[in-house]
Every structure is written in C-alpha cells, then in structure tokens.
Point group: D2
Chain length 327, copies 4
C-alpha cells in the first residue's frame, strides 16, 4: 500500500530521574525539537505521575507538529527492566513494588513505549550519538547516587537471561567490607558512588586531626568534596584518590572478563574525574590481565548527562516496533 | 589507557557515480561538515583516479579540522562488493577488471576504508537517516541506469554467501523476453531501468501513428519521457504505466519471498514516481501473496539522492573497525 | 541455586501433515527415542485434535522417561506462523480460520510450544542435522502438495516483518498464466507443485495423440508420472523436463536476490529429481545473474522427509525458552 | 551447479592439552567416528608438533572414509585466540611466543582450521551437546591447572574487542592478596585452580599441629586432597570449603554483571564438586545481587572432559567457512 503518510520521523525520549522528569521530541538525527520537565517528587502516587507525564507529552506533541508525527516513546528510569517493561523496587523513587510503566503509558498514549534503566539508556545514547559510536564491544559506567553499568557485546546491549545484567555497583571488592544499602557487604557502590565517597571522607576525617576544608562543611557531598579538591585540600584529594583506586580495581575485573574496546564513565560523579582518574588508571593497569593491558580506552563521556539520557531514550524508542491497534 | 584524544568523531563519505565523485566529511549525527566533488570520467585510469581522490580527501581533511579527527572512510560505488572491498567488472565505469579499491585507498590514506555498491549504501542511508530508521526488515530499490536492490533481514543488510545479493534488476520477469545488457533475457532491468524505459517508448511509438511529443525529441531519456507525461502525452504516460506494472510484478515476487515492512524506491527514476506509482501499486497488490497483501508500505525516498549516498557511505564508514598500524 | 535436576535433555518434535501427525521424543543429538503417529484427518474438529495430540504426547512421555525429562515442544504444520504461534487459513487442513495451536497445546501440556510452517521446519532440520549444517546463507525448498521455502540470512532463518516470508510458490513466473489455487495467476506453484505437474501432463496429453503410459492411468499424480518416466515414457519425461525448467527459472530469480551458498530441495516431489534436475540446472544457470553463476550448490536433501520434519521440529523446540509457571 | 558430492558431513576435532593431544573425526550429530592421541610433551619444537599432528590427522582420514569427506578442522588449545588463530605465550605449553597454529595446520592440510582456547571450546561443546543446549546466556567455567571462562550473550560466544575475554581466573578477589603466576596479586586463580588449592592446603597445615592425612602425602594435588576429603580428613575438607567460598564470591560478581541462566563448571577440578559445591552456593547466594538471587543455575558439566573438548572442537570446525583454493 502507498505509505507516504505512514512514516513517522520523530520519537519522544523521557528521562525519569530522582529529581526531575524530562520529556523531549527528538528527530532521527538526534535533534531535540522540544523539551520540557517537571519535578518527579511532586507525584508520590504512580497513577498521578502517569497522568501528569501522559498529559505533558500529549500537549508537547500538539504544540510541535502533532500526535501523528510521533512513532514511539522511550523512557529511561532507575531500576527499570527493558524485558519486562517494569520498574521493580526502585530504592530511590517514591513508587514501590512492581510497576508496569511501559504498559501504563502505552494505554494512555496509544503509542509503543519502551523503558530501560538509566545505565542501559546511557549506553544506547553513547552508542547512537557519543564516544561509543562505531564500537561493538564497550562498557558504560554510570556514577551517581548508584553505580550502574551496561555493556555491548558484538553490537548489541547485553541484558542477560533475566534482563538484570550490569549490576557492577554490587560486585564485591572487599569481602566482608562496608555494608551496602542493598544488604550485601563490600559492594563497589559502597565505596565509589555518592554515599560511599562521603563515607570515605568521614572515615578519613575521623582518623586524623589534620585540618581540612571538609571539616567546615555543613553537609558533605561528592560535589562539595570535589570543590575542596580544587582548593588543594589534602584529605579531599585522598578521598577521590581512594575512590579511583577502588574503581580501577573493579573496572580491571570487568575488563578482564569482557575485553572491551573502551570503558566510558558517565553520570554526575564522572565530572570529578580530574580528581580520581589518575589513581583509577594506575589501579586499572595494575589489576587488569596482561593480554589486555594498555588496550582498553578509559573515557569520560563527552555528552552532557542530561542530553545523553534524552537521546538514549530516543534511541530506545526507535528500537521497539511501532504499535498499532490494527495489527 | 586514558583515551580522551583517541576518539574520532568524524568520517568521510564518498559517492563514486558515473558522472561525479563526491566526498564529504560527516559527523556522528549525519551533519555534512564539508563536501566537494570532481568529474569521475576525467580519470580513465584507476591509478590516476585513486591519486586524485586521495589527495582531494587529504586536502579536505586539512581544511576542516585535520587528519586526526577522521575515523574511517566509506565509499559507495557501482558494482562494488563489501566482502571483497573490490569493484568487479563495472559496466558503467571506465575501469575494467577486478579493482581492490578499498585496499588502494587505505594504503594511500592510512585509514580504514569500506566500500559497497550503491544500492547497499542507499539502504544504509535510509536505515541510518531515512524512512527505514527503526525498521528491521525492508527493501531498498535503486532505479537509475541500472536497477539495484538491498534488503535488511532482522536489522542487518543481507549480503549473501558470496556478497552478491540484491540483483533484483536481473531477475527474469518475461521468459525469453528482451535481451538485457547482462547477456540474459527478460531481466527486469531491461524494462524498468533507463534503457528499458526508452526501449518501451520506442516500441510504443513504432507500433502506432498516433501523435506524441516524444516524436519531437532529439533523444529519449526517462527524464524527457516524464516531462512529456506532465504535458499529458498519452504515449509517455503509457510508457510509465507499463514500467510501473512490470516493476509492481517484480516487487510482488520480492515481497512474497521476504515479507518486508516497507519497500523504498530511490534513484533518479524514482522522481518520476507520480507517473508509475499507481500502476505499480495495482500490479503489486494483484501479484503479491494474500498473507501480506495490504501490509507492505511502498515508499518513495524522502532523502535526496545525493545526500543519501554520502550519508549512507558515512554510515558504512562507522560500521568498519578503525585501522591502526599498531594493531 | 543448585541445578542438577533442572536440566532437561529431551524435547518433543511433532509433524502435522495432511495425512498423518507424527510425534517423537528426541534428544540433544537428534536421536529419536520414541516415535508414534495417528491420522490427522480423523480429527476434523481442532479441539478433538488437540485433545488427541496432547494425550498421545503425555502417554509417550510417561512411557519414555517421564514428563520431567521434557524441556519443550516443537511443531511443524502447514500454514503455521512462528511469530504468532497460529495456523491461519490452512488450505489443506480440516481446520479453518485462525487457530492458536501453540497456546492451545501449551495450556494442555504445561510446556513451552513453538510452531512453524513445514518449509521453515525443514530448513531448521537441514541446518541442525542435514546438508546445510555449517552454512549461514542457504535456501530450502519444499516440493509437495504446495511449494514452500525458507532461507537463512547470516545464520538465522528469515521470517520477515510479518512472519510470512518464503512464499516462493506464489511468486509469479508467467504473468497472466495459470490460475493458482491461491487466486492469483502464474504462480510457480501452479506449475511445479503436485497439481501443477498433473496439469502439465494433462495439457501435454491433450495436445497430441501420441501414445503414452500416462493415458492408461486411472488417476495422475507426480509419483505415477515419475514411475512412467522410469519406464521411458516420452510425455512423462517431458512433464518433468518442463517442471524443472520452470523451477530453475524461479530458483535463479531467488538466487539472484539472495546469493546463497546452496539451495536444498526437499519434500515428496524432490524424490523425482532424477527426472527434472538436468532441465532445472540448465534453466537455473541460464537465468541466474553472472556474478553467482556456477557458485550456488543445488542439492537434493539427504535426510528422509519424515525424519527431517521431526528433527527440525525438535530443533525448533530447543530454540524457544523454557516455560515456567513461576517466571 | 549440482552439488551432491560437494557436501562434506564430517569434521576433525583436536584437543591439545598439556599432556595429550587428541584428534577425532566427528559427524554432524556429535558421533565420534575415530579417535586417537599422542603425547603433546614429546614435541618441544612447534614445527615437529605440527608435522606430527598433520600426519596423524591425514592418516586418520585415510583410514576412515578419506580426505574428501572432511569439511574443516577445529582445535582447542590453551592460550589460543580464535580471532587471530594463534597461540600466544602459553604458560603451560612447550612452545613460546606467538604461534600462528591455524595457518600452519591449514597450509599442511589444505582444509579450513579454526582454533580457540579451552574454555571457549568447552562452552561450544556445552552449547552444542551439553547442558547449555537451548540457552542463550550462560557462563562456562574451566577449573584445572588454570581457571578459564567463556560466556554466551544472546546466543553467541562473547570474545570482546581484542578476542581476549573470559579471564575470570585473573579477576582480583583479594586486593594485595596471593601472588599469581601471571604476575598480579589476589587473582582468583591463585586460590581456586590447582596450585592455589595446594597452597591453601599447605597454609592450613602450617597453621596447626592437628593430624591430617595430607601430612602423609609425598606430593599434594587437588585430586589427592579430594581423596582425603572422601576419607573425612578435616583439613582437606576445609581446603575445599575455602576454595568453594572464594569461587562462589567470584561467580557472584560474574553473575551480577551478566545475569546468566546458568553457570556450568567443567575441567578436572569440577570432579571434586561434592567437596566445594555447598560452600560455593552459600557464598554465591550471599554475594550475588538480589534481583538474580535464586535465579542462576549452578551446574557441574555432565559431559566428560575429554569428550566435551573434542565435540566442542568439532562444533568450532562447523562454525568456520570451508576453505577452497578456488575461492
């Protein structure tokens, strides 16, 4: 049949983060046509959230070319699984239990909806529009409140049998080590994500009487510690040196298993790379197996965090089949 | 190892056509940074051509960010095979025999070079930046001097065991029919590509004394015949009606074998679609197997021919691995 | 968790043919542990058929190691689609409309069930255990009451967007030619499958008064015509010569599109290959595009028809995920 | 072209182990037609080894149906890379440096030769003929002198960008821990492969005066320690308990990254599973991330080590294209 009018050249990419939910219309080449956002935390009830998000997206469509121009929707959300289309027990979101978000949005919008966790979507963004473009085997690490990852094997993202692959933050680096929020001990996340970095700072401060700018802060955070680094604070520098060393060990193990072309660091804490990258690299090269030593590129993402998520979500939207009531 | 400076974000796309050779620097998102061209036919010796093309590309690189920013090179060329990297017995190019063009260019430029035939590259262009974006099973038809095709099966281009797949123009539609330039009889190309369309016009003119604008033309071509169509010339209209009907039959056979989501028409003659699309569709739906009747989109490409080839060649450049003297 | 007892090393392969339904327990290496059958045509009601088949399979399991040893079930059935798990409007089976056979059997048996059409399953059988083992691009043709096909592209079976690929029998070889049972005209099946071969014989007999053993037959069939060939009957020989010539043209078109390593002929009528293979090959090489001339192997399957279907169905059973009430 | 005689239905599988080199003719279904072996260590010069192996294979072919029946050759060898076809710095083989074994054998035999390391080949054997048949995501662990691994992602073996993936034995479990033979510290192999198990025994014996059967042994080995386990020796039991606990931690990390359906233990030391599997499982479930807890099958291979390698090598032989002087 003649199909001129049936080809839709735009998708919607949605990034549900702890603070904000951003939604944007994106074209085939990654141009953002329109973009808006609202506070995630205003909607403690998932039903209210879905209503707000659906109405916002519909309005955005109407104001930018119309519903008929949109092919499908991709959503980035912590703790989401692409295989099930659901969010499961998200520790950092207000909605608990198993939430079939893809189906909920599809029913409201009448469009195909794919959802995946933030590390998975970050990897899709790097593959489609970032440093991983043209690579078939690489790892993307997401450094923030949590520590996620996603890797590509021969050009496709690895999801695993159950769709739960990539839990790099919950590999153990110190047996019987720090208690992690997940209930286990010694998880990498307990040393290298936000809370772990703060805990390292607290431990270092408690272990000495040496002066430190960190002692003057009302509240410690990775960002504040990084800012003290830039002022030359010795303990702050040691915090990130330790973090880099531990992360380098974890990455060396990951790389020894996968033999990737590159490891790309993303997420808020990757912006502090200047303070941890040297120790990360030293630890990585010391701990990685010899056959791949000096052969893995360690990169900090060149996409800004926000754009990567929205673009990655748009790439996800293109990967799912169009939805049709008549099929 | 720290890899900040090792990620290259641009490629060169080259379109070698019968008349012109175009070369362009293209970024990850399909933005053309620089583009230039020279007449292909000025270089009847392949060695001279390779020298001209290499020097032109090197100069373009120097003027636009430098050699170090370029990852790899993709080339679209009639009669080229991606698997061998060679042009073989190109009927419409000045260089005869088996020409290992990919290796010749790589040796001059020190960069990875991939080459593929024009229909293959058109399909990559439609997949990366055109109507086929997001589709996993589709056919691209290239209508011009020759009649080529390429199809995607489950998201990858089908090349076949020997890399010679897609010879749609040389499938037989009329046993013991018109002699084709390839030596066989009844090939679709002998009815639906440039020479075949002209031959149909000549046959119709010879079969009647009816007046026709076509009789006033010094030389017939698909473009001239289309222009007579737009002036309402009955014989010109009949030429394209017959062409569409025959092409519709060929496409129905193709679609019955493949069950594609869409068939996308590209190439110079696709611009005459308004004169052949109705008869094509009628013939297609009549001849296609019932299970897929009304289920295949027939589209005319929305990319312009030139851009599609250069962008498709850039997509090809991203698909091959980077070249390194140290690997 | 410890999984010793959870690994199941056997599957059930089912071949639903027009006359008989065969079901067998097959191990990983293609050894048939047990096999039985019943007449398909005894069950004109699909519900009765499903009851009979389910009970038969359950009994076979009990007598051969138990239900717990069986991983999953694969079913070969004319007009079945793997993507939907349904039989749709099967012209040669007693059950009409859209029948979700995979779901019906799964509900009765509590095991994962995959179904696919006979040509698809034949191709899986040739790939797993026959001449196509180790090939990544090949075509399997099924010659019988109908004329089906399936091809592999880069190691996976091509199903197409809608799952209806492979309708080789309904590609048109003679525009406005013989009326086919499908409603179209000039279909290859109308010349090269059972009824078409008989029709050719009738036409040849009607066109001449020459004596022929065929005139003495109460009823013509491909098998009877082949048997007259072996007695040297000139008209019978001409029937298969014409069939081979037409099939060779169709295969040449198929091969020009796909560039396969091999084409494998299966099905009842392939046993008459000695009477049509010479003309098929002559026609194929004459009509195929030059770049692949002399490069495609034309083979008659070495597996017996029956075994290929049961083994192919077992290969299908391994390709689907295990079913679990707890997943 | 008619291809009856061109289809070859057998391959040769070769297993080069530290002590013995085994070579066998295997058919499509994994039946071993003929098998023989010679001591690897008799050939300290690679050239002599290649001569011996080539002549042995040629003679085996002649005695079993002839050279013409063999399609290709697959070779399992420690430290081999499939991507390069070479053995690189094998620590446990007599031949040093970079040895292009695949090319050396192909030149002698005129047949396509594929080679891969033992864990890779084990995984292919489990996939084709063992517990992983029908799985798309699984890990195979090889426990012996070394500690290797290979995983499948979506149905294909992951090799990584450089082809060096799977170095599970050289992931670090104890930072600054035991010195490994590879030069690094704290490698899993230094605790869970042959030498590491013996070292654990020696450390436990040195730490106490408690009586133990182990003290009476002239030389400790994993096999001897296991045999003392079966006699109830407390220290021997503790050796394997510790080994299982450490291996369980390493596997938990691996599984948290991959979300596999199963982990299959192979190799000589897997035969001592009864002494380490309980502690392995306890440690695994304690250390694995919650989303996949209780969802990964831990299996000991049911294929015998020897058969798995030869069959896996035969599966490898089928995966490479046939070699032809005329192509």
């Amino acid at each position: 049949m003649r199909g001129e009018d049936e080809i839709k050249s735009r998708v919607v990419g949605v990034d549900i983060s702890i603070n904000n939910t951003t939604y944007a219309i994106v074209d085939i080449r990654g141009n953002i046509i329109a973009e808006d956002n609202f506070p995630t935390s205003d909607y403690s009830n998932i039903s209210d959230f879905v209503t707000k998000l659906s109405e916002s997206i519909l309005q955005q469509m109407e104001e930018n070319g119309g519903y008929e121009t949109i092919r499908s929707i991709g959503v980035s959300c912590p703790s989401a699984s692409f295989l099930t289309g659901s969010i499961v027990n998200a520790p950092n979101l207000p909605w608990k239990g198993n939430i079939p978000l893809a189906a909920m949005l599809r029913d409201r919008l009448g469009l195909a909806v794919g959802i995946a966790n933030d590390a998975h979507v970050s990897a899709m963004g790097e593959y489609a529009y970032g440093s991983a473009h043209g690579m078939k085997n690489f790892i993307v690490i997401s450094l923030g409140v949590g520590l996620g990852s996603c890797f590509y094997s021969e050009g496709h993202e690895h999801q695993g049998f159950g769709g739960y692959a990539g839990e790099f933050g919950h590999t153990c680096v110190h047996e019987f080590g720090r208690k992690c929020a997940c209930g286990k001990e010694g998880c990498l996340e307990a040393y290298c994500a936000a809370n772990g970095i703060v805990q390292t700072a607290q431990e270092l401060l408690a272990a000495t009487d040496a002066p430190s700018l960190l002692r003057d802060q009302e509240r410690l955070s990775p960002r504040i510690i990084a800012s003290c680094c830039s002022q030359g604070d010795a303990i702050a520098l040691e915090v990130y040196r330790k973090m880099g060393s531990t992360l380098g060990l974890g990455l060396a193990n990951y790389a020894s298993l996968l033999s990737p072309q590159a490891i790309i660091l993303t997420g808020g804490i990757s912006h502090a790379a200047e303070w941890f990258l040297d120790s990360l690299l030293e630890s990585f090269e010391r701990n990685v197996f010899q056959t791949i030593r000096d052969k893995v590129l360690i990169l900090v993402s060149k996409l800004n965090d926000h754009e990567r998520e929205v673009l990655g979500a748009s790439a996800l939207a293109w990967e799912i089949p169009e939805y049709s009531l008549f099929r």
